[in-house]
């Protein structure tokens, strides 16, 4: 088995474990897992930009928000998306996210480095401003309450158990789709842009278009995550578009390890469980979170997924003289 196949096997096993264990735990764990899975799609979309294209976005919450607001507005005002047409809303959420990214990308993609950070921040704040102030459409500060979840005939998603399976399934499909994307030739050229954009330009790649498309795809998954988030949380409010939400998504991707997709998922789970669980145990939980972030950035820039590689390097460095003496034929 190649090392990539081993990694895939580990991920599949982990997902299977989640699927088997979580429904048998208490409702608190299940609720948290559902939330984390919905949010993890957004974090993976951040990772497509950050880890595979080298663009750090500080406004990714905007795409979650448009997906979530679209879902909530359709459901409460027009009663759309509460039956089988939920799947259409899911698609629509992706489309809205992609459309917004297509618009924002026109402004943002030209910029690089710090300027990309700031322009995505500004664009995210535009959406926040609308969500916060456009009372007649978004409910302003109070947001929109979603009282119902979709029903497919006898299957009622109001049941947390059933809903968990739905989110889990959508999450797995997203993971597979994004994984296919980053392993595709397109994904490879994105990585090339991340490493050295000028070289890719000289090789004849239209790097602007590559980045633009990656940006749109990330926006689409952001919208998808928003649709799930709206039904998971039951409320959509400007909090979902705030700068800290975008920052959270970025930090989760870095904490897990950018450029790995799965790392972002791990980061999401760690943060969600630290935040929700720790806050019930100790009042100073946010210190732990802050220290985790700061320590990751200072000492573990490659994130948690980078630990095995660092261990290997460390062992190779410190163990080298010994291994040469003891096992010269090992390599």
């Amino acid at each position: 088995m190649s090392s990539q196949a081993v990694k895939i096997a580990i991920v599949v096993a982990a997902l299977a474990a989640v699927l088997l264990v979580v429904p048998n735990t208490n409702s608190f764990v299940m609720l948290l897992t559902t939330r984390a899975l919905a949010f993890a799609i957004l974090v993976m979309s951040v990772d497509i930009l950050l880890g595979y294209t080298g663009l750090a976005s500080l406004g990714q919450a905007a795409y979650l928000a448009v997906g979530a607001y679209a879902t909530a507005i359709l459901a409460t005002k027009y009663h759309i998306g509460l039956g089988w047409d939920f799947w259409l809303v899911l698609l629509f959420g992706m489309l809205v996210g992609a459309a917004l990214a297509a618009l924002f990308g026109l402004f943002a993609i030209r910029a690089t480095g710090v300027y990309f950070l700031m322009i995505t921040l500004a664009l995210g704040q535009c959406v926040w401003g609308l969500a916060y102030r456009w009372n007649s459409l978004t409910g302003g500060d109070n947001g929109i309450n979603l009282r119902e979840r979709p029903k497919f005939g006898p299957i009622d998603l109001a049941n947390e158990n059933t809903f968990f399976f739905l989110v889990f399934a959508v999450f797995c499909v997203s993971l597979v789709m994004m994984y296919t994307l980053v392993r595709s030739p397109f994904g490879r050229s994105l990585a090339g842009i991340r490493e050295r954009e000028l070289r890719m330009k000289i090789l004849g790649y239209n790097t602007w278009l590559h980045k633009y498309i990656a940006f749109i795809i990330a926006g689409a998954f952001g919208g998808l995550s928003g649709v799930l988030w709206a039904h998971t949380a039951g409320i959509v409010s400007p909090v979902n578009v705030e700068l800290p939400t975008s920052v959270d998504a970025l930090l989760m991707a870095v904490l897990g390890g950018s450029g790995t997709l799965v790392g972002g998922v791990i980061g999401t789970f760690i943060v969600f469980f630290l935040r929700e669980y720790l806050s019930t145990v100790v009042p100073w939980w946010q210190y732990v979170l802050g220290v985790v972030y700061v320590a990751t950035i200072l000492y573990l820039p490659t994130g948690l997924m980078g630990i095995p590689e660092r261990l290997r390097q460390w062992r190779a460095k410190s163990g080298n003289p010994q291994s040469r003496k003891l096992a010269p034929a090992a390599s």
Binding site: M118, Q125, L130, L243, L251, Y287, G290, V291, I297, P301
Partner: protein
């Protein structure tokens, strides 16, 4: 909508702009000198307000609260720059994430020390009056804000343009590598500018606390507005920060008064547009 409306809104916009100048000028200088996007700048603003509150509670002196709070936060900035940011090296993403990690830590610390209640910083009675000019009442406190910001702006400008140290700072903004090459200690410049930025933000927090209030979450409310100021004005330029602050202050006030439903949009959309067309801002140096 008569003349009075326009005069009052313009006055409010200008005085809000004065406050924004205090927050934005520091952020702008920090970016110009160090190329750091400092996401804990909003925290400095809020912490400045909180420290001032504590000083007022213990000594009952508003005048004393201003320098104490500003210096205390300048010290926080100094330590942050020396201990954490400097060793990090130049990597925009890591710098941004580090400052945001600190913003979260500060948020929790503020919650622990000063609880989650809303507070107001009450200025002395002498400043709480209004003066009437031509039948319109102007709150004296807002006049004080404008005067303070103008004085500080002038002092900063003189320091930047007329002193040797200011010339070194400008050289570092223009080309840090060359500045190092001609023997300017850019590390020391960075340290000073970073704590100066924290100082100014905290000053803004104390002064702004009188009419914005001091409450948890103000840090992340102030931060994007400060960025709007910096981006519109141009990063690393003092004059740009002044004009950016004025524009944002006016846009914010008139936006809220004239088209409340899209008021924040009218603030941030121009910011995104300017960034897309001229990333260095209206008055930024290339």
């Amino acid at each position: 909508m008569n003349l009075n409306f326009w005069v009052i809104q313009a006055f409010n916009g200008i005085s809000y702009g004065a406050l924004l100048f205090l927050v934005g000028s520091g952020l702008s200088l920090i970016f110009g000198v160090m190329r750091i996007v400092n996401l804990s700048h909003g925290s400095y603003f809020l912490l400045g307000g909180y420290v001032a509150l504590s000083v007022i509670w213990t000594t009952d002196s508003w005048l004393l609260a201003i320098p104490v709070a500003a210096l205390a936060i300048a010290l926080v900035g100094l330590v942050m720059e020396r201990v954490f940011l400097r060793p990090l090296g130049f990597d925009p993403l890591r710098q941004v994430l580090l400052t945001v990690g600190f913003a979260f830590l500060f948020q929790q610390a503020a919650l622990d020390i000063w609880t989650g209640n809303n507070f107001d910083i009450n200025p002395p009675a002498a400043l709480s009056k209004s003066i009437a000019i031509g039948g319109i009442y102007f709150p004296l406190y807002r006049v004080f804000m404008i005067v303070t910001a103008a004085a500080i702006g002038l002092a900063l400008w003189l320091a930047m343009e007329k002193t040797r140290l200011g010339a070194q700072v400008r050289a570092t903004v223009d080309d840090a590598e060359m500045a190092r090459g001609v023997g300017i200690d850019t590390s020391r410049i960075s340290m000073m500018i970073f704590s100066l930025g924290a100082f100014l933000a905290a000053l803004g927090g104390v002064i702004g606390g009188a009419f914005l209030g001091i409450y948890p979450g103000l840090d992340f409310e102030m931060l994007p507005i400060a960025f709007a100021v910096v981006i519109i004005g141009g990063m690393g330029s003092l004059g740009g920060a002044a004009i950016g602050a004025l524009l944002v202050g006016l846009a914010d006030n008139f936006g809220k008064a004239l088209f409340p439903e899209i008021s924040y949009f009218t603030l941030y959309a121009p910011m995104a547009l300017i960034l897309a067309i001229k990333p260095t801002g209206l008055f930024g140096r290339e």
